[in-house]
Point group: D2
């Protein structure tokens, strides 16, 4: 449990002197891919080389992503990859593991946004997905939740950027484990908490997600007429992000996901029955200690006004995770809230954050958008 | 636990011969009050006498409720009550208990939609609210969740219609208690499950509600700009509906509520760790047995298509509760979903349902609207 | 211009004595088809025989339309049609004209909800669509906008139910033509206004529609992520409903459509520069005279409160058209607003209304749902 | 008509050398005020001194504006103004004109976001509002629509930033006037088009706006339950922004506004009947010539994909105006679409843009956010 303790990898002063590297985005017509293009276009140290999309090859990137209208860049075929310093892969799950050797032929560093390299072993992968095509890479890949394991990232060749729902959940729960409020003291894995933690009472995690988690495709269930205004159980049990959470925190969680009416955003509410008595002051101390120096974590736990607890709206478009909590004395329960923009902190933003660390740039480079108020459905 | 077992209080044949009674609605300009007016206007056995609203006295009821445009009825002052057979009180919490003697001076039957008479004792009330003005009525009032305690309702003088979030939660969980899947065998209260049930593992209930639960008033937090697209923790701990649920089921639940972007609707997801092993077949048997003859409960637990589990959209505008479940073998968990329209099944519809039973009408009289598909934010 | 003047075709007294007829719905898995099933299931004089859907044959109708869950009816193949009294065709544009002979082999009366038989001549059809397969039926078909041409409908064999945007627009504008405020006095066609009306200043019609107009299919543009929160020009010029409007009112309109964030609903705002001076009182007189006895038209033109003018929300789920207006003296303009539920008044509801008249039932039979308040995105 | 022709006031090279000036925001707790704080906080040349809010004095600015959480700045009383270089006033209409002398006592430059100084004369103001408190300032104020009159802004003391709906409308229509497609050749006012233009056929402008235009306050009509999913006529005639449009373009427009379900955004659809024949190529030439060098105007007029025409979603959070058009040959009509974020390009962003020019900074300084894709209700 040391990863999160180290300071940011590069100061702003270092950053100003940093060189520019070349980068390409594979799978750039999807939502995460488009966000990567936008972030890299505004980043002081990345020079975009290619954006691939089989379906849109030859078209301008602005034809699919309105914020990029006016940009010269055009999509190329996914197979025509030129050499770059960093390759970001924003392809659907299962694609990267089949092309990983090819990726390393053209790039020194690969940042993968899919689930392909997030788990440590092929056995774990098989338990949640369907057989891994490149198991040898699993041990080499560094799982990236920068706040909690940034020490692993400098110089990493293959980065597996954490998944959206897992990121929200882990960031919310981590301080409880780190400070012994739940789960006891245990050995770390991947910068994570534990190999095994005990306790009879399972943590219940109830996540609400927006429609962008379903990707840029279509289908009746994700049509506006059917999806507007929903509170729809989605992967009510057996959600694959449980694997990441369990690997990182060392304990299973009872995880359930609901689709709600927003486009961006993931909000995780975790119901925790702590090992012993805990006060709200204890919680404040724990969370402050875990996150007070983090540029991308913001505590919101009560107070006054409209926005008292973490909300996806409050972080829409940003790389910020809001984390908060409330105490339920009558049920001896801690309720933890965490909210992120799934396309940013849960995907493209976290990937850029990890790449910044891997390459020695200032952690916040290219990630400084503060968000909007008011904003509708984020 | 016998209330739910009795058959519907009146057959359709009886109903056809039923007489018409007079009814008034106190607090008719609010959302529940308007819904009552609409239901009573289309009801074969109610003749609306008065609709009161201090703020709108003299105006037509259609001036506040568009579906009632064209209706002749005009609001009267709340204090000018004429004699009626049934008085529906849709006033904010705390009003009915101060006027209950006055109500019984003008009406034989009072159906109260507020929380004022839902709890059994003044002590319980004090624990969750702030002192009761008419504690003598608490024991006389019949709490109404018709599916579970309809036997108590025929001839009742004072009916306390169940609260929206409590109704969704209790209807979802009840079959697990009734069939010994959770909570053991216990004594009943109010037609409910138990005086006391054990088990170390608390039930976690995570509820998502629409903006109509906040009532017809305003305020910054409920403004469209601030509330659109939210996933906002709302009464994250200590929600008052815990009291009703605990009273009815005989066990505390760890209850948390979120505001989401819909207008009507309450969706309760209950995470239950059952007393022993249970199969999906066991769950189907339990839920079918509990609800197969219920006109207003519909099971939705898997299947194909867009709508597989309970959703508020699927019941918008109706008096139907959708109830469903999923099994999580790896966490030895049952996830229960229940969805209602909070203004209907969670308020006005349930009140009319209870009144139908109390007065000997067919249970479904005036409550047969099937809902819409597609529908946006319900 | 005589159609609308005749009284309702059947009184309620007649209706009570009416017999029940059999009906089937072709294309029943779409939004309009599902709405027809719901309306017919609750209708006192229709007995549903079949509901066809190629894609869902064998499944229950509730599998696609949640309000019909619990109904026994299952989809049959579109080609297995049994004999019925009335066949409702809710198929996509172009299907009915290819099957119309087949339809009349099994049914005495065909009510078509598509655009296939709305125009009078093959030449008109060719000008807006792509060649007609059964032009001989065009002259036989009765276009149905019951308020304006109900005299044509009793006993009709083939009814072409008016289109959603055309219905909203025509109902809004008609009183201006009928009372000589715009367009002069002219000869009628199809119960409509004129063969030719003059005036240099075109009427501008700006329509806002919900996502249900796009039907039950999918596609990227109608996905929730891309369509949420839009104000999207849609068929900005050359919209095919111009043909219906022009045929009925006898004058071209400059028509533009926008997709906005609702599911149900069409709102037409017509900007009219009248032939001469007109007062608000003149407008009130004209609209009242045109619509005062209409069960499905409601005037909303000012007043106080939240709902002052026509709004799709206020008529969601109903067969009501709200019509209103405002005077703009400084621009010598009349702004006309009309709002309908496109799936009801703009499609299935209007079809049932027309069938009620054709068959001699009370006009409002099966169409009495008053709507909801509050309601979210309708 | 020369303002827009001049090049940007400062090159990026100049900008790098620019000094930092101090700025305060009066009325900072509103939506425009919060946006100003966010823009100024991320601006290379502004140093925020004070943010005033009577209601929130003493609280952190993050307490009302989530994106500013973590900022040290606290609200001060509106009356405790310290000396600054630039004062931005984001107060409700009518406030600035009463305090304008006081503002100039503490600041060299005042940028007012309200309507108080947008009109040229007291007579014009009286015609649309209710008497002006400081008419002497009307002639001194420079109305700011930077694309069209940037030449007026360098060194300006008092800047009246253009209103949201007027900005969208004028930017859409201007090229038609500039290139003689509508309105003939005329004399300019305020950098605008004309003192008087002829033509019998009025331009019809139909605007759709989000809830943020109503400001941060509440009220029943703007509550989420009542405003969700609306298409609500709002100021259907006599909208005050007509005054700005008429003053700038020299011709009255028939203007109507609708509230739709989004938070940010204004979309203006203008229906224009041109003076003579015009082709789509003519339109492209005109719009390209008017805007090709503009950093904050983007043309969108057809093409493929989901986003073919201007949409508020595509510019949410940005200072970009999208402008496009379509030709309707059968009605001899040009339909012009323009979309902005009303809080940015329609308010705070335009104010900063104008201030950048006034003070000699690069025009785009602090305004480079490109927007998000996907985004829900913007």
């Amino acid at each position: 449990m040391t990863g999160g303790a180290s300071a940011a990898a590069a100061t702003d002063a270092d950053d100003a002197a940093a060189e520019t590297v070349t980068a390409s985005v594979v799978g750039a017509s999807g939502f995460a891919g488009g966000e990567l293009l936008r972030l890299l276009a505004g980043h002081p140290h990345f020079d975009i080389q290619q954006a691939t999309s089989r379906q849109n090859a030859g078209k301008s990137v602005g034809s699919t992503h309105p914020p990029l209208r006016g940009t010269e860049l055009r999509y190329t075929e996914p197979t025509d990859l030129e050499s770059v310093d960093v390759l970001f892969a924003a392809t659907p799950h299962g694609v990267s593991m089949g092309r990983i050797d090819e990726f390393f032929e053209v790039a020194d560093t690969v940042v993968d946004l899919s689930a392909d390299f997030r788990l440590d072993t092929a056995a774990q992968y098989d338990a949640w997905y369907d057989g891994h095509d490149a198991p040898a890479y699993l041990a080499k890949a560094e799982y990236a939740l920068p706040e909690l394991n940034r020490a692993n990232l400098p110089g990493a060749d293959l980065i597996a950027s954490g998944g959206c729902n897992a990121t929200a959940t882990i960031l919310g729960l981590y301080p409880l484990f780190e400070h012994g409020i739940f789960g006891g003291e245990t050995g770390a894995t991947d910068g994570g908490v534990a190999d095994e933690v005990g306790g009879d009472e399972r943590i219940v995690v109830d996540v609400k997600v927006g429609s962008s988690e379903g990707g840029a495709g279509g289908g009746a269930a994700s049509s506006h007429a059917e999806r507007s205004g929903v509170v729809r159980p989605y992967a009510p049990t057996g959600h694959r992000h449980e694997a990441e959470i369990e690997q990182f925190l060392g304990t299973p969680v009872a995880f359930t996901c609901h689709a709600v009416d927003m486009v961006r955003g993931a909000s995780a509410t975790s119901h925790v029955f702590p090992d012993g008595p805990v006060s709200k002051g204890d919680l404040w101390s724990a969370y402050r200690e875990s996150y007070e120096d983090e540029p991308f974590v913001r505590l919101a736990a009560g107070g006054s006004g409209v926005y008292r607890y973490p909300e996806p709206k409050a972080v829409a478009g940003t790389n910020v995770a809001e984390v908060g909590f409330e105490l339920d004395p009558s049920n001896e329960r801690v309720v933890v809230f965490s909210a992120i923009d799934n396309v940013m902190k849960g995907s493209a933003g976290q990937a850029v954050h990890a790449a910044n660390i891997a390459l020695g740039f200032a952690e916040t480079a290219g990630l400084d958008f503060a968000g909007l108020h008011p904003v509708g459905s984020p």
